[in-house]
Amino acid sequence: MKNKKKYIEIFTKSLSIDTKKFNEKIKYNDVPEWDSIGHMTLMSELEDGFDISIDTDDIIEFSSFKKGIQILKKYKVD
C-alpha cells in the first residue's frame, strides 16, 4: 500500500490513539478510542484525507485496520 503512511497518520490522529499503542492488528473496540462514535469520525477523516465517499456497507464492514486496507483499495486508495 503506497498510502500506508498517510493511512496510519489519519487512523491514529482521528482516533487520538497514541502512536506507541498502535499496531496493525488493531480491531474495532480493541481500544476505548475506537468506539462507535470514534468510528464515524475515522470514516469522516478518511473521506476527507483521500477525497473519497465510503459506502454505508463498507463503513459497517470496516472492522479492523487491515480490513480498512482492503476496503480502501476499492476506492483506488492503494
Binding site: N29, S36, I37, H39, T41, T56, D57, I60
Partner: protein
C-alpha cells in the same frame, strides 16, 4: 445495502453511529433534508454529514429552544427536518417550543433524542432521561417511537421522515447494543411486532431493553414457561388492537421499559386495558418514580430492576 448480512455489525455500531449512517443515506434520497443539532455533530455520528453537506446542517449551539424554533421554521418553508441532541435537552429543555411549534402549529419535524434512558448514568441524572415519553405523550400531534436496535432505527427514520406528524425517536443503549431483530422484517409506525411467540405470559417492551426480555424468555423456557415477547416500538399512537388481543389471550402481561413507570409504555398499555373487558393482570417494570445517584448503565439497570434476573423473578412471582 445488505442489511441482513450486516446485522451483527450494525449492532456493534450502536444507535448513535447508526443514526449518522442513516442520515447520509436519507440525504441521497431527500435533497430537501436539513439536520439541526445543538452542538452534537460528533456525538450523533454526524461528522460525515456535516462535512459533506455543510449547507444542510445547522448547529445552533447549546440553545435547544432555538433548535426547535429554527427546525420548525425550516419545516414551514418546506424542508424535511431532523433535529437531534441528547434526549433530556431535546425534550424537557424545550418543552414549550415543542408544544407550540410542533403540537399546536403542526410544523412537522423528526426529533431524535440521543442516549435516552439510563445509558449516560455516569454523568448523573442531568443526562439520564426517564421522563421524555411521559411528557411528550401529553402533547397532541406528536408521535413517539422507540427503536429496539440499530436495524430498527434504520426502519424508524425511513418511516418517520414521511410520517404525517412530528415524531420523537427515542434512542436507548450505548454501542454494542443487544441484537433484538436477527433478520429483516416489515416495520410500520403504530404496528407492534410479536418477536417471540408464547402462551403463558406476554412481555411487552420497547427499546434495547427488549434484549434483556429475550434473554429472560429463553431462561424461562427452560423452566417450561413460554413467554411471548412483543416489541411495542410505537408508544403513540399505541397499537390498541394488539394490546386488546394480548389481554384477551393471556392471564399476565409484564411491560418492561427504561423509563419512569408513570407516563410511559406501561401506562399506555394500562390505559388501553382499562377501557376494555379482560381478565388479565398487568405488572409494570421500569424506573419506580425516584432518582438515584449516578452510576454505570449496568449498575443503574440493576438497581431499577431492569435486569434479566428481575424480569424472570417478576414473571415467576406473578404467574
Amino acid at each position: 445495502m445488505n442489511i441482513e448480512k450486516n446485522i451483527k455489525l450494525w449492532s456493534s455500531l450502536g444507535m448513535r453511529a447508526t443514526f449518522g449512517l442513516i442520515a447520509m443515506e436519507l440525504s441521497k434520497k431527500y435533497p430537501d433534508l436539513m439536520i439541526t443539532t445543538s452542538d452534537v455533530s460528533t456525538s450523533a455520528g454526524l461528522d460525515r454529514y456535516k462535512n459533506k453537506y455543510p449547507e444542510k446542517f445547522v448547529d445552533v449551539g447549546i440553545a435547544e429552544q432555538n433548535l426547535i424554533g429554527i427546525s420548525a421554521g425550516l419545516s414551514s418553508e418546506g424542508f424535511k427536518v431532523i433535529s437531534t441532541t441528547f434526549a433530556p435537552f431535546q425534550t424537557l429543555r424545550c418543552c414549550e417550543q415543542i408544544k407550540v411549534n410542533l403540537g399546536y402549529m403542526k410544523n412537522k419535524i423528526c426529533m431524535v433524542g440521543l442516549a435516552s434512558g439510563l445509558v449516560l448514568g455516569n454523568l448523573g441524572f442531568t443526562h439520564c432521561c426517564i421522563e421524555d415519553i411521559g411528557v411528550l405523550r401529553s402533547i397532541p400531534n406528536i408521535s413517539i417511537v422507540v427503536p429496539s436496535d440499530p436495524l430498527e432505527l434504520f426502519k424508524v427514520l425511513s418511516g418517520a421522515i414521511n410520517y404525517k406528524d412530528s415524531v420523537y425517536i427515542r434512542l436507548t443503549a450505548g454501542s454494542n447494543t443487544r441484537i433484538v431483530n436477527s433478520k429483516d422484517y416489515k416495520f410500520e409506525i403504530g404496528k407492534a411486532i410479536e418477536i417471540l411467540p408464547g402462551k403463558d405470559v406476554a412481555i411487552i417492551g420497547c427499546g434495547n431493553i427488549l434484549g434483556e426480555c429475550l434473554e429472560a424468555a429463553s431462561i424461562l423456557k427452560e423452566k417450561k414457561i413460554q413467554c411471548s415477547i412483543v416489541n411495542m416500538h410505537t408508544i403513540k399512537p399505541i397499537d390498541k388492537e394488539k394490546i386488546k388481543n394480548i389481554a384477551k389471550n393471556n392471564k399476565l402481561i409484564v411491560t418492561v421499559e427504561e423509563h419512569n413507570v408513570i407516563g410511559g409504555l406501561g401506562t399506555s398499555v394500562a390505559e388501553v386495558m382499562s377501557s376494555d373487558r379482560n381478565n388479565c393482570k398487568l405488572v409494570r417494570l421500569g424506573i419506580n418514580d425516584f432518582y438515584s445517584s449516578g452510576g454505570s448503565y449496568e449498575y443503574l439497570k440493576n438497581i431499577y430492576g431492569l435486569s434479566v434476573e428481575k424480569i424472570i423473578q417478576t414473571v415467576l412471582s406473578n404467574l
